[in-house]
Amino acid sequence: MGGTGREAPDHGMSLVVDHISKRFGTILALDDATFTVEPGRIFGLLGANGAGKTTSMRIVLDILRPDSGTVTWEGRPNTALPRRTWGYLPEERGLYLRMRVAEVLRFFASLYGVSSADASGEVDAWLERFRIADYLNRKVEELSKGNQQKIQFIASILHDPQVLIMDEPFSGLDPVNVQLLKEAFLAMRDRGKTLIFSTHQMETVEELCESIAILDRGRVVVSGAVRDVKRAMGRQVVRLAVDGDGTGWVEQIPGVQLTRRGEDYLELHVASGSDPEEVLRAALARGDRVTRFEIADPSLEEIFIEHVGRRAEEPERHLAEVATAPDTGAQDR
């Protein structure tokens, strides 16, 4: 999904998170975080648990105030924007369990100033899209977790927000529902909406996001268009499969490093300034039969590990520790 040659972003119209810091007791949840989300794009906020993703989102939504820094959207500070600018899907799923689906959705729509008449057409369309049209008059508690999550998604977009902010939207969903939600994301993007979502599933980011920011311990370690981020890594990945024996020759090539021994292929990093095709030429020169040769950008997974020092799934610190840490009542996800 990398860059498709769009014109340079107009920062005046973007969502700009500018030098935000937020401290909870002894924990610095956000440390001078800065990133820009271009309008009409899908933006991924990556980071391990506790990296500051949720705190960033809450600050953008203005339900939390930063200690310093500003957030602007289309040039206006977020504190001056109406609530209906945003659609928010929190990470923690919660709805009024004893109310009916239709009632809950009408209620949230009404809080955003949408009449039940206007809401009901939208509700029907979304329930249809999510294949849960029969559940309109069921109580929420009768729905599965996955279906409740879909209701929550609908509740967050009925007022036609300009920016959708989704905290770990895919967690807890089965593959079929993940696919439905991805399609919904793309549909919203096609309607001109801006989407920001957090995750630690790199494949989803590769699939959906045009730009990203990677957070680590409250700091933005890298951000920008996915293509630029990959280019900035200054290397390329080569996957190579040959018939010959031994692999020692590979690392003899200047600027080439063997990073993974796959089942039937090798994965190599080629530093910038070296030509990946040098590897192919060397293999052919040895007289080996080359069955696979592939030049690729480094994966986001690799980029993440490079910047953060570990995989996204490995928690940096436990939530419980944060929650019970003395002198803080806050936790940050």
Partner: protein, 436 residues
Amino acid sequence: MSGLFPNAWYIARREYLVRVRSRAFVIMTAILALVGLGLALAPVGFRMLGADRPQRLGVVISAADPPPRTLGLLGGGLNPPSAAGQADGGTPRSANYELVPVSDPIAARRDVQDGRLNGLLTIGRSSSGDLAFDYFGDSSPTSRSLAAVQAASQQLAISDRLTRAGVRDPSAIFTPVGFRVEPLDPNAGRRDTAASVAAYLLATVLVVLTFMAIMTYGNWVAGSVAEEKSSRVMELLITAASPRQLLAGKVIGTCAAGLTQYLAILGAALVGVILSGPLSRAIVGGSGASSPFAGVTIPVLIVFGLFFLGGFVLYAAVYAALGSMVSRQEDVQQMVGPMTLVGVVGYFAAFTALSTPDSGWVHVLSFVPFFAPYFMPLRLVLSTVTPLEVVFSALLLVAGIVIVHSLAARIYSAGVLLYGQRPGIRAVWRAARVRR
């Protein structure tokens, strides 16, 4: 800053509907309405059960030379003529006695044992010549009838001594004397004794109603906020509406549900009161006892209504803020403890004030927002209050509500996002963001 409405109204409507539709609410309201009806009808019930029926007392005159009109004098002592001064204790007004001359003491003792007679009084003479009495019946020391019979017997004996000493018509001695009370507070003089009793009862009822509303419905508010927080629907809410809207909506919705329950209970009680008049006439004859509703006037209703609502809104905001600070519903009780204490202190102070409604501290507390809901209606009913005082106290209450609500909204905005063990008030305050 966004306005309170219409979002507060949507939140209130949801809160109200979910509350009144819940099974717990319906069952509780039905039970309480039955209790209200039962309490209102209780006086009639007591009469039906015989608490007010005339006591039948068998009298055996075994004295060789009984005083003239023995039964008449005894009956006069037991059933004193209604007159001023009877509320000073003494014989209970409602008790009356029927004297049954008995010729067969053995059979009469059996009648007492079988409950056909309430007691058997045997009048004889001792060797000193005085009348002597033997009583057979309920001998519990707290028995009102025993005390009454003893007092009447004393009268009879004194009358007999006077007769033997040569006094004519000794019964005139026992005619009640005139006894007029001039109250210290000239305004209290407006009321006769019965009206004072009714006013006291009314003030008690008002204090209890206020206390129960604050405690019960305050806890509803705290529980409901904590439930939204623990079920994590809060994050959706706080993005959709401002803390002030959430707080106001929650308080209004719960208050409306509470009032619905109160009106159901009071309606049932009112039906009971209205029914008790005809019922008691039909069953036992005579009018009902003094009703606490006798003192209800339009000003009392208006002042009580205003201070009741104001007090509820004031306390409910604090309860909402406290509810927003807990992570789990189980912790709600612990968190609201201090506030419950304030409510209970006000309640007990108000009960003390019932007997000293004119004292200075009652005067002062009737202007303090957290106590005015108890004390101002109480003073209005029991003492004297100028309209200016009522307005001033009401203004202070409104100011208190405004201040407490904005503080509560601040705590709420931070509290609802804090999940942890037990955030203290200081942690919450530090996290509280600038009001929007």
